[in-house]
Structures are given as structure tokens and as C-alpha cells.
């Protein structure tokens, strides 16, 4: 215990924290959904601060394009599940912490059973569908969650469903048609670092009941101008009740094809968003093309798309060279170009 006290001595010294606060941190259980640019710094600071139980959830593996912003990972981790690679690092930082890793997506099947085990949920996700799912699950299980999102140089952060406060649906009632990820738009690596660190700050404030949490407030940060803004908003009781009265369901990110008569081949992985529903879309991930190329029509034009147009180009090269396709057209610019 003495060693533990020394480790946390600089924060225990703060009169608002003290030994009692440190014990509260030790008893706290925080789940981080998405171990990317936001989740990494949040997990790092919460581990260092001595939050007793940390859940790390991510279905994805470390990729070299993650390293400029997902600061828990090194080149040696490429190809490893993020949740496990993060745990390896964090255990070295603080062996007192009880980690739970989930190498899976959050979905309607597992969301309640995972989230109900924790006190606070941190949103490190990169898509609207999971953000709405976290929101609705937190309403059903009565948990506060700490939201953040980034776009290029700009970030948003808020605390939802805290002590009957507003939820994500009170701020943004309608899910947008298109998910635009860092993969497509680009992002400055430090931005999720700033937002993730703010999320960890809010989590510690909630655990210790310190200061004013960002409930009823959306904080917007712009890194190019360093301007910040706080927008206030209220809980919409009717919207909350609609969620509470229904079983959990995925928000459909409403997207439709511009042209319903063209045949499409989607070579993305099944989890990638958005996923327009249409009978003319054939879905074969790039990695399965060699085994499933026979499913692709050969006698009419097929438009091949992915998220940005790069993988679909590779797919066409493979199919033309290896299986003699001549009818494939690359959708330059990816999925967004074929949506209404």
C-alpha cells in the first residue's frame, strides 16, 4: 500500500482528492469503446491515475496508419488486436489495474451485458452507429458516457446521460447519412490526443465528483485557431423515453444509391460504414476475392468501390490479371461518390 501511495502521491496531495479520492478511483470501473486516437490517451491517463478496472474494447488490429495518433502502439504491435496491444503497454505502466479486453465490436447483442459492468463509458469510436448504440445502451442501463468526435482540426466533447442530463439524441436527434472517418478526410494526430485527454479528465471528475462536468454542454475545440466554444443544450425527455420504451436497435445510417440500376461490388470489410442496402450490391471483401470471384457477374459492367477508391483499384487489378475480368469499373473517390 505504501508503494501505491507513493505512486499516486502527487494527486493524493490535492486536498480535493486525498486518500479517499484515490480509493474512489481504485473502486471505479471505466469502459473505453474504441482503442484508437481517442481511446489510447484516455486509457493511458486513467491507468496512470489508478482507475481500478478498465475495459478496453476494439475489434480492430493495429495498422501502420494508426501509429501517428494511437500512441499506445509501436511498430511491433502491427497486426495485433488493439485491445490486447493496449493492455500489454498499460500493464507495464500500472500493474495494479484490473484490465478486461474485448476484441469485438459493440453490437445490439453484447452492448447491455458489457456496459452494465461499468460505471462510466468513454466513447472512442469513429462512427455514428456505435455512438447512437452507446447512447441508447447507456440510457437503458443508466450510465453516464463521455462523448468525443473529431473532424480534421476540430473536436467536440460532452458528457451524456449524467444524473438525468441530456443525451446524444438531445444534441443530434438525427443520424447523418454519411460517416466520414479519419481514413478518408485525414486528421492531425494531436487532435484525438487532446480530446481523449479531456475525456479522461471528465471521467476522473465524475468518479471524484469534482468540479462541473461537461453535462448539458458541448465543448468545441478548433486547433488551428485555438478557439474554444461551449454550446449549452437540454435533455429532450420525449426522445429519451422513446429509447427507454423500446428494445435496443441499431440506428440505420440512412444512405441510398444515386443510381439503382448499376451493379456494384463492395470490397470493404463487413464492419465498414456506411452500408447502403440494395439488391444490386454484391459484398466480397478484398481478402476473399480469390475464393469468391465466381460470384461476380462477367457479362455486364460492375462498379467496384471501397472506402476511398484505393482497395477497389487493387481488387480490379487482381481480378483482371488473375481471373481475366474485363467488365470492372473503379469508383474513384469511394463509397461517398455513389450515394445520393
Amino acid at each position: 500500500m505504501n508503494e501505491n501511495i507513493s505512486r499516486y502521491s502527487r494527486q493524493i496531495k490535492l486536498p480535493e482528492i486525498g486518500l479517499e479520492g484515490q480509493q474512489k478511483l481504485k473502486n471505479a470501473k471505466v469502459l473505453i469503446v474504441g482503442m484508437g486516437g481517442l481511446g489510447c490517451p484516455a486509457a493511458q491517463y486513467l491507468t496512470a491515475a489508478g482507475v481500478g478496472t478498465l475495459g478496453l474494447l476494439d475489434h480492430d488490429k493495429v495498422d501502420i496508419t494508426n501509429l501517428h495518433r494511437q500512441i499506445l502502439y509501436t511498430e511491433d504491435n502491427i497486426g495485433q488486436p488493439k485491445a490486447e496491444a493496449a493492455q500489454q503497454y498499460l500493464k507495464k505502466l500500472n500493474s495494479d489495474i484490473n484490465f478486461h479486453t474485448y476484441v469485438e465490436n459493440l453490437n445490439t447483442e453484447n452492448a447491455i451485458s458489457i456496459i452494465e459492468k461499468y460505471d462510466i463509458i468513454i466513447d472512442g469510436t469513429d462512427n455514428f452507429q456505435t455512438k447512437y448504440l452507446i447512447n441508447d445502451t447507456c440510457l437503458l442501463t443508466n450510465k453516464p458516457w463521455i462523448y468525443a468526435s473529431i473532424y480534421k482540426y476540430e473536436g467536440q466533447i460532452s458528457v451524456f446521460n449524467y444524473k438525468n442530463g441530456p443525451t446524444y439524441r438531445c444534441l443530434f436527434p438525427k443520424a447523418p447519412k454519411n460517416d466520414i472517418s479519419c481514413e478518408e478526410t485525414g486528421v492531425i494526430g494531436i487532435l484525438p490526443g487532446i480530446l481523449g485527454t479531456y475525456q479522461a479528465t471528465e471521467a476522473i471528475k465524475l468518479i471524484l465528483e469534482l468540479g462541473d462536468p461537461l453535462s448539458c454542454k458541448l465543448k468545441i475545440i478548433h486547433t488551428l485557431t485555438m478557439q474554444e466554444q461551449i454550446i449549452k443544450f437540454k435533455r429532450n425527455e420525449a426522445a429519451a423515453n422513446t429509447i427507454l420504451q423500446k428494445p435496443l436497435k441499431l440506428e440505420t445510417v440512412d444512405c441510398q444509391l444515386k443510381d439503382n440500376n448499376t451493379i456494384y461490388l463492395d470490397v470493404r470489410e463487413p464492419h465498414e460504414q456506411p452500408q447502403p442496402e440494395h439488391k444490386n450490391i454484391l459484398r466480397i471483401p478484398l481478402s476473399q476475392l480469390r475464393d469468391r470471384y465466381r460470384e461476380i457477374p462477367t457479362h455486364k459492367p460492375v462498379n467496384v468501390y471501397c472506402q476511398s477508391g484505393i482497395r477497389s483499384k487493387k481488387a480490379i487489378e487482381l481480378l483482371n490479371e488473375t481471373f481475366d475480368f474485363t467488365n470492372l469499373i473503379n469508383v474513384e473517390g469511394g463509397i461517398q461518390k455513389i450515394l445520393k
Partner: protein, 81 residues
């Protein structure tokens, strides 16, 4: 500058407008938040119109009337992480 408001743009909206904000003269047809939103959507041909939220003087309010000197913000949701 008589009878005008400031409009601030965020996220992808600022990219589509090409500016972070501007001053708008309040006219007979520009008297409330939803009219200002509709005006900006039309002027800049903004995407995902129904998801854009409006704040008047740093408070979410898509119906309220506006008056001289108010600060209006157009906020898009985004989901990067």
C-alpha cells in the same frame, strides 16, 4: 452595421462555406433560427441539412427568434475518432 447577426460555421459546414463565420443583415424573411439555417443551407448548398443543429448565443435553439447582435452557430455532427 444595423440590425445584423453573426453566423459561425463548424466542421464540414465551414469547409463548404469556405469561411468560419460572417455577418448577416436581418431582413423581413430572416427573423428566426430556422430561417437563418434555411438561408445558409440554400446559399451554400450544404449537405446533410436535416442533421445540422442551430445555437443562438451559445445555446441550442432551432426555433427561437433572433435579434440584433446575436451569435448564431451552425453545428454539424461528425464521428471521427
Amino acid at each position: 452595421m444595423s440590425n445584423s447577426v453573426t453566423v459561425k460555421y463548424f466542421g464540414a459546414i465551414a469547409e463548404q462555406t469556405g469561411i468560419s463565420g460572417e455577418t448577416l443583415e436581418l431582413t423581413h424573411d430572416l427573423q428566426n433560427a430556422s430561417q437563418i439555417k434555411a438561408y445558409c443551407i440554400h446559399k451554400y448548398n450544404l449537405n446533410d441539412q436535416e442533421t445540422i443543429q442551430v445555437a443562438i448565443n451559445q445555446e441550442l435553439n432551432d426555433q427561437g427568434t433572433v435579434k440584433e447582435g446575436d451569435e448564431i452557430a451552425l453545428l454539424p455532427p461528425f464521428a471521427g475518432g
